[in-house]
Structures are given as structure tokens and as C-alpha cells.
């Protein structure tokens, strides 16, 4: 008879049961990727190098890190930066989601895709573009406003905490927008209507029902925005450091960039940031669980109740237009414009004469650019592929294998979400600087870093589609004599495709724009585009940077487009 009916006897007879090997190997990989670096980080933060290659255990690093005169101002800056950004992003995202989802604002459905466009603008470029616009010396917006109103000084200064908050927020809005849109969509409109039928007027309904129902979601969105801002390094690097406004992530970076690098202090700071973000994530998971309780039973799609804004709908429309032109479009335009300039100049008739393709011509023979481009493309596609294959396997084991202890894999795969990018960089330095295989300084260490960081995203995409696969399908395949691997390959994998494609594209995009891990790990040969942008911008080659930015966006769109086309075709064939 076939092999299906006797898995238990097979287990007894062979010592190497493949069905058991896979989860064990999976757990091994996850521990290696997610747990080992953290272990090294914590160890490193308690060690000091007294003589070359000779370490002692000490608390000195923590003293250096947290008892310095900086400590307090760094803490306060981080709090203001993260809190301010979270609130601002939330307000923008919620307003956009509300206008497009729940009101009769004209042309609102057109703005839904527009609101997520900023996702393709890497954080480094976002910061650079806003420096072009709001720099007190040469920012276009400032120059124009001064000219227009005859002002003596620039009205805006991007090199300030409010400036940092603004720049970081506008880049994060798509995230808040998507989360709040989902929240509005899943809210049964009859909950509000029944309040009306109970005699509550519009304001009472809003206050006592709508707000209360949205509160748990709003809370968790705010929390996740706070944590993400705390972990971010793009704005703190490009705007904060020149402005001498330091936050946690910049302190870690500076400890690493001192000469000689102070790994101990950096490690101690990183441990602190790790604890903070873990606490945030823990709160977040709790808040989401609370929020789930509020979700009402029905699974059907609602016809959303739309507020008739009356004449105010034109105010809503104006808001959307202003947002689109000034927040979404302007950064792209300014980068595009600057990429044709020999040096930075305001748009004017005289500047028009100076427009040329010189920057692009220069780049075509500029080797570091091509190196970085190659690295970025290889890394983002490879990261997306490795992470998705790995998480597909892990998700299958967790949700389908019925193995005892499979949940451990789930927990392991979730750990990286708590690790801030720069902390991951720090941890991997400590792990690989003295590693027997010399991968430090190559793109492979970046690959490891990226894959680890983005495993949680992959898990979310994979588990979503895995949960939809009915066990019968797989059991049917097994019953027809297919081996475990055959089943996975021929039945499970094809069913996973939609989730796989979505996850792949998302991870590809975030890898391509990754900055905060790379800034510590990518050096010389292994430089990626975001890092090249950063260094060249620091050196003042701003118009070439703009050209790189334009090419970067074009490349990203092309890679995603090609992958989409390829998988789309495969999908049709089978």
C-alpha cells in the first residue's frame, strides 16, 4: 500500500524523518537570524576591550551611554520627535481616510491611490526633497514666500524639531491612511444609525459611538507610528544631525562613527532602544487584541454610511487637492527639477537655460553609482525571494503541520519586528566583525540583516493565504501518494502565490529603500543606493543626488513592474 497510512511507523523506523527535520531546521534558521544577534548585542553592551582582543565584563558602557549630559536632551528630543510625528501622521492619515471613505467629497475615490504614492519615495529622498523646499537658506518655498510677501527672514526652517516632525510625518501618512481606511471600512454603519434612531444627534453619535468604537484602533495606530518614528533614522540623519538635534538612533550612529568606534556605548544605547520598542510592540499587540473584541460579528461588506458634507464637501476637496499638490507631488517635482541643474537654484527663467542632462551623463560613467545600483537591485530582489520562501515554509509549519510546539516558530518569526533597524545593524556588527567567515563588509551581511528584519512582513503575507488553504486539499494530495515535499511544491505553493506576490513586492520595496540598518553595515564595496545618496548629500553634491533619486524611483518601479508581469503570466498558465 501507499506510504500515507503509516506515518507513525515510518517515524519509528527512520531516525531522520523529513517531516520533523523541516521545522527543526526552520527553528534553527530563525534562532540564528533573530536571536543570536540580540544575544551578541546584549553581551557586547556589557563588555569593554581592555587590550586588543581582550574583553572584560563591565557596566561602564551603560554609564557612558546614559549618564552623559546628552542623555536627557536625547531622551526629550526622541519623545517629542516620535510623539509629534505619531500625532501628525495620525491626523493626516485619519482625515484622508475619513474624507475618502466616509464622506461625499467630490472625486474622493481618485485620491485613494494618490494617498499611498509616497510609499515609493524612500525616506532619504523624502528628507532631501524637503530640505530643497524648506531649507532656510535656499529652500524654494522659503525663497518664494519671502519674495511674495517681502519677508526679511525665511518663514520655515526644516532644520528644527518641527521640521523633522513634518518631514517624517508626510512620509508615514500612507501607513496611517491604510490602517484607518481599514478601520472605517470594517465599521458597521448601522452602529451609528441605531444611535440616531435612539435619539442621538450627529455630534452625540460621533462622540459616544464613532469615537469610542474607533478608539482601540486609533490607539494602536498611534502606538505603531510612535514606535516606528523612534526607530527611524532617515530624518534624524539628514536633518537632525546637521541641526544638532540628536535622538536615540543618531546617538547610536554617532557612537559607531566616532574614532575609534565605541561599540560598547553604541550597544548599550541599542539595548535601551530595543527595550523601548519591544515595550511599544507589546502594548500594540495588547491594544489590537482589545480592538478585536470590538469587531462586530457580521463578516459581510457594508455599504458605508456617507456623511453629506453639504457645501463643506468643497472644503474637503480643497484639502485633498492641497495635500496632493504640496505633500505628494511637490517632493517628486523638486527632485526631478533639481536633477537637471548644475548647481542648486530656484526655478526661474535664467535657471531654465542652465537645465541639462549633465548630472545623468556624469552618473553614466560614475562607478560607485553603478555598484550601488547593482547592490540595491540584487539585495532587494534576493531579500524578497529568500524572506518569502522562508516565511512560506514557516507559516505552513505553524498553521498546517499540527506539530506540537510549532507556535514557537511563530514567536521566533515575530521577534524581528521589535528590533529597530539601527539596532539590528549594531548587533550584526558585533556578531560578524570577528566571525570566522569574512562576510562583514560584503552585501551578504546586508542580505542577512534585511531578511531578518522583514521576516515579520513575510509572515503576515504568507499566513494570510495559508490560512485560506483547506487541509483537505493537501490531504487529498497526500492520499494520492505525493510525498510531503511534493505536496508542498505542487499543491500548497501554488495556492500561496497571491500572498507570495504581495509579500514579495512589499519586501522588495522596503529593502530597496532601507537605510537605518545599511548605514552601519554598508561600506565601500557593499554600498547601496540609499547610503550613496546620504554620503554624497553630506558632501554637498546635491543635484547629482537628485538625479540618483530620480533613477532610484524609476528602477524601483521597473523591478516591481517586471516581477508583477512575470508572476501574472505564471498565474495564467497554471
Amino acid at each position: 500500500m501507499s506510504t500515507v497510512a503509516i506515518p507513525t511507523t515510518a517515524k519509528q523506523s527512520s531516525t531522520l524523518d523529513p517531516a520533523l527535520l523541516v521545522p527543526v531546521v526552520g527553528a534553527g534558521i530563525l534562532i540564528y537570524l533573530a536571536v543570536l544577534p540580540l544575544f551578541m548585542l546584549v553581551m557586547g553592551s556589557f563588555q569593554a576591550e581592555v587590550a586588543p582582543r581582550e574583553f572584560v565584563y563591565t557596566l561602564k558602557n551603560y554609564q557612558n551611554a546614559y549618564a552623559s549630559p546628552h542623555t536627557y536632551s536625547t531622551f526629550v528630543n526622541s519623545l517629542i520627535f516620535a510623539g509629534g510625528s505619531a500625532v501628525m501622521t495620525f491626523l493626516f492619515g485619519t482625515t484622508l481616510a475619513w474624507l475618502t471613505e466616509r464622506t461625499n467629497t467630490p472625486l474622493r475615490s481618485l485620491f485613494v491611490p494618490i494617498a499611498v504614492i509616497p510609499l515609493i519615495l524612500p525616506g532619504v529622498l523624502e528628507s532631501i526633497a524637503w530640505i530643497f523646499l524648506l531649507s532656510p537658506k535656499f529652500g524654494y518655498v522659503n525663497v518664494w514666500l519671502m519674495h511674495l510677501f517681502g519677508l526679511q527672514s525665511a518663514p520655515f526652517n526644516v532644520f528644527s524639531l518641527p521640521g523633522m516632525i513634518w518631514v517624517h510625518s508626510v512620509g508615514q501618512v500612507p501607513l496611517a491612511f491604510l490602517m484607518m481606511t481599514a478601520a472605517f471600512k470594517s465599521m458597521d454603519p448601522s452602529l451609528e444609525e441605531s444611535a440616531m434612531m435612539s435619539g442621538a444627534n450627529t455630534w452625540q453619535t460621533f462622540k459616544r459611538i464613532t469615537l469610542r468604537l474607533l478608539a482601540p484602533t486609533a490607539g494602536s495606530v498611534l502606538l505603531i507610528l510612535f514606535v516606528r518614528t523612534l526607530e527611524s533614522f532617515e530624518t534624524p540623519a539628514l536633518i537632525g544631525i546637521p541641526a544638532r538635534i540628536y535622538v536615540y538612533t543618531s546617538e547610536i550612529f554617532l557612537a559607531f562613527n566616532e574614532y575609534p568606534p565605541d561599540y560598547g556605548r553604541g550597544g548599550a544605547l541599542a539595548v535601551g532602544l530595543l527595550l523601548l520598542s519591544s515595550f511599544g510592540v507589546w502594548l500594540y499587540t495588547r491594544a489590537t487584541k482589545e480592538g478585536k473584541k470590538f469587531q462586530t460579528v457580521t463578516g459581510k461588506a457594508f455599504r458605508p454610511r456617507q456623511f453629506d458634507l453639504g457645501p463643506w464637501r468643497w472644503a474637503g476637496f480643497a484639502f485633498l487637492m492641497v495635500y496632493f499638490i504640496f505633500v505628494v507631488l511637490l517632493p517628486f517635482l523638486v527632485l526631478f527639477w533639481a536633477s537637471f541643474l548644475p548647481f542648486f537654484a530656484a526655478p526661474s527663467w535664467s535657471a531654465l537655460d542652465k537645465l541639462s542632462l549633465d548630472n545623468y551623463r556624469y552618473l553614466s560613467t560614475f562607478r560607485p553609482f553603478w555598484e550601488a545600483m547593482k547592490n540595491s537591485i540584487i539585495l532587494s530582489t534576493l531579500t524578497a525571494t529568500v524572506a518569502m520562501v522562508l516565511t512560506s515554509l514557516v507559516a505552513w509549519i505553524v498553521y498546517k503541520s499540527k506539530l506540537r510546539g510549532a507556535w514557537i516558530l511563530d514567536v521566533l518569526a515575530f521577534i524581528p519586528i521589535t528590533i529597530p533597524g539601527i539596532v539590528m545593524g549594531m548587533a550584526l556588527i558585533l556578531l560578524y566583525v570577528a566571525f570566522p567567515i569574512p562576510i562583514y563588509g560584503t552585501i551578504w551581511v546586508l542580505l542577512i540583516a534585511y531578511v531578518t528584519r522583514f521576516i515579520p512582513y513575510g509572515m503576515r503575507a504568507s499566513s494570510g493565504s495559508i490560512l485560506q488553504i483547506h487541509s483537505e486539499l493537501e490531504e487529498a494530495a497526500a492520499a494520492s501518494g505525493a510525498s510531503w515535499w511534493e505536496t508542498f511544491k505542487r499543491v500548497t505553493l501554488p495556492l500561496l502565490r497571491p500572498g507570495f506576490v504581495a509579500g514579495w513586492i512589499y519586501i522588495c520595496i522596503v529593502s530597496f529603500r532601507e537605510f537605518s540598518t545599511s548605514v552601519l553595515l554598508a561600506t565601500g564595496e557593499s554600498r547601496v543606493l540609499s547610503i550613496l545618496l546620504f554620503t554624497m548629500f553630506e558632501q554637498g553634491q546635491v543635484t547629482i543626488v537628485a538625479a540618483i533619486g530620480v533613477l532610484m524611483i524609476v528602477t524601483l518601479l521597473t523591478v516591481v513592474g517586471i516581477f508583477y508581469k512575470l508572476t501574472g503570466k505564471v498565474g495564467i498558465q497554471t
Binding site: S198, N201, R208, K293
Partner: protein
């Protein structure tokens, strides 16, 4: 209590004309009555109800609730939903998940125009909960109730303000079959006890027939027929109503003669039938003769002096417990009948079908 005159509702769907969901509907619900809007999915029942509730602004006509003109297109009157003396139960119950059972029911009292003291709130909520047999559940979170309990909670919430009118939109459709049957009974009992004017929306004919004083059968935005349960079931005025309520047999034919007593004769392919003829039909009109399955009698011997007896053959027969569901084949038509299970028949047996003339109706084809 409720008066609807020439109500029109057009939804904007992007096209110029829009979707005319309700097309000049008029009806009146007398005080204390149980009035049902019955019709297939998408015929505009919910829309009508929502216009009365004030959740939807109509495009034409007039609505009067408890003597107050709450909507009038001509006078440009529109009383917002929260000012109308109406209680409503939604299909999804719309129980607020962030409030306890008590607070759910207390909400209408707390947001109302006139202040209600706490002791008064307590008293009224307790009474309302007891009315629906949810006494003792006050402190539970509303989401911890079963489907049937949530449904009753929604009812208590709608009633606690002592509204003049109760609107119910398919309140039973989310319950399983057994529970639905019981709730049907309980709901009707409660309505009788409170004597509250009720407008009920459903697509379930059994609910409509068993609960209502008056039924309005709706079809694509208009009322096809209004009447008591017996009227709409036994004397449908159109093919649509006959088809929608209960199952029917239809025999196409042509009117030969119409008598003075509204009875007449119709020629069908399987012979002449004596039947009631709908007012307005003339000899020569094309009609269908409709007759309910349970009205037909199947005889093994040719009955002596009965009218409308046709030769037939047994088609399929199915034993359904309560009755025997069998088809009988005439020359050109096939009829479905319900017979007592004592009838001993087999497929292909020659039989005689009797169509009692009083239970046959000729309706416009």
C-alpha cells in the same frame, strides 16, 4: 399612525437617471397594527423603511408619523432621524460592542432631549430588559450575548424610549431556523401586549403571513398588492403575487366567458376550467389560471359530479412526512400537488385531478 404618500427615492449611482429604488409608494398603517412590507431582494423594502426612519432623505412625496409631518417634498420638510418618535431594529442588530447590556438599553434615555434621572433610567431599563426576558444580564458586555439574545437586546433598546412606531428590518434573518420560529411568536406577542404600531420588513412569506395584520407585497419599487394575509394568499391579484407567496401551479389559457358572480370559464390546452376571473378580464383575454398545490384533489376513480376534473398521470411522488408531494401530468401541463400520505399511488398511475373552481383564479398573463 404612519402615512406614506407618493414616496419616491432615487439613489445616485453615477448615471444620470440614478436608481429608482422606490417609485411613488403610498400606504397607511393604522394605530396598533402590525404592517409588513414583503418582497423579493432589492425591491426597495429597506429603502422605504429607511426613508420613514429618516436615515435616507426621500426625493418626493410625504411621510407623516404620529400626526407629525416628518418629510414633505413640497413643503421642504425634513425632520432628522433623531427627532422622529421611532424605534428601529436593524438586521445586524447594531448592538454597541463597547457598552454593557444595561448601557446599550440606557443609551436612548441618556441622549434624549429631556433629562431622565438615574433612578428613572434604572427603572425603565430594567422594565425593558424584563419585557424581552433579559433580566439579570445587565452587567454583561453586549458582545457576550448569543444571537437571539442580541436580537432581543436590540428590541429592548428600540422600545425603551416608548416610541410611537417600531420599525423592524428583517430582524429574524440572522437567526437559525428553530430560533426564528420561536422569535416570530415572541415578537408578535410583545407587539400585541404593547399595542405598538409596527412596520416590519421581510422577504420571508411565512413570517409575513403568520405575524401581520396587513401585508404589502412589493415588486421593484411599487406595491403590487395590499391586504390581509388571507387576501394576498388566497386571492392574489397578479401573477407576481401568486408566484411570490407560496407555490402555485399555472395553466395558461384564454377566457371564454365571464359570469355575473365573477366566475367564468377558461380554455386551456388541457381542457376547459371553471374558475374565478379577476375583475376587468374580458372574454378573449390571455390569462393564467393559478391554483395552489394543496387545493388540488387527486382521485383514483373518476369522481361523479365534480367540476373541473381532468385526466392525468402520476409523475414523481415524494414522501415528505407531513404530506405527499407529487406531480401529476396533464396532456400539456404538469401540476404540483400536496396529498395525504394515505393516498396509494405509483409513478405512471392514471388518475383524475380535481381543481375546485372556487380555488382557481384566472389572472392576467
Amino acid at each position: 399612525m404612519i402615512e406614506v404618500k407618493g414616496l419616491v427615492k432615487i439613489y445616485d449611482d453615477g448615471s444620470n437617471a440614478g436608481v429608482k429604488a422606490v417609485d411613488e409608494i403610498s400606504f397607511t398603517v393604522e394605530e396598533g397594527r402590525f404592517y409588513t412590507l414583503l418582497g423579493p431582494s432589492g425591491c426597495g423594502k429597506t429603502t422605504t423603511l429607511r426613508c420613514i426612519a429618516g436615515l435616507e432623505k426621500a426625493n418626493g412625496g410625504e411621510i407623516i408619523v404620529a400626526g407629525q409631518k416628518v418629510y414633505s417634498a413640497n413643503e421642504n420638510t425634513y425632520v432628522p432621524a433623531y427627532r422622529r418618535p421611532i424605534g428601529m431594529v436593524f438586521q445586524s442588530y447594531a448592538i454597541w460592542p463597547h457598552l454593557t447590556v444595561f448601557e446599550n438599553v440606557a443609551f436612548p434615555l441618556r441622549v434624549g432631549k429631556e433629562k431622565v434621572s438615574n433612578t428613572e433610567v434604572k427603572k425603565k431599563v430594567t422594565t425593558a430588559l424584563e419585557q424581552v426576558e433579559l433580566g439579570g444580564y445587565e452587567d454583561r458586555m453586549a458582545t457576550q450575548l448569543s444571537g437571539g439574545q442580541q436580537q432581543r437586546l436590540a428590541l429592548a433598546r428600540a422600545l425603551v424610549r416608548e416610541p410611537k412606531v417600531l420599525l423592524l428590518d428583517e430582524p429574524l434573518s440572522n437567526l437559525d431556523a428553530k430560533l426564528r420560529e420561536r422569535m416570530r411568536f415572541e415578537l408578535r406577542e410583545l407587539q400585541r401586549r404593547l399595542r405598538i404600531t409596527t412596520l416590519y420588513v421581510t422577504h420571508d412569506q411565512i413570517e409575513a403571513l403568520s405575524m401581520s395584520n396587513v401585508i404589502a407585497v412589493m415588486n421593484s419599487g411599487v406595491i403590487a398588492q395590499e391586504g390581509g394575509p388571507r387576501d394576498v394568499y388566497l386571492a392574489p391579484k397578479s401573477k407576481f403575487v401568486a408566484n411570490f407567496i407560496g407555490s402555485t401551479n399555472q395553466l395558461p389559457g384564454q377566457v371564454i366567458s365571464v359570469g355575473s358572480d365573477a366566475m367564468g370559464r377558461v380554455r386551456t390546452e388541457d381542457g376547459e376550467i371553471a374558475c374565478a376571473i379577476l375583475e376587468g378580464l374580458k372574454p378573449g383575454s390571455n390569462v393564467v389560471v393559478v391554483v395552489r398545490p394543496e387545493s388540488l384533489n387527486v382521485h383514483l376513480q373518476k369522481p361523479a359530479n365534480s367540476a373541473n376534473v381532468l385526466d392525468a398521470k402520476i409523475g414523481a411522488a415524494m414522501f415528505l412526512g407531513e404530506y405527499l408531494d407529487c406531480t401529476v401530468e396533464l396532456g400539456h401541463n404538469v401540476l404540483q400537488t400536496h396529498q395525504r400520505h394515505t393516498l396509494e399511488i405509483r409513478r405512471g398511475d392514471p388518475v383524475w385531478v380535481e381543481l375546485p373552481p372556487a380555488e382557481c383564479m384566472a389572472l392576467p398573463a
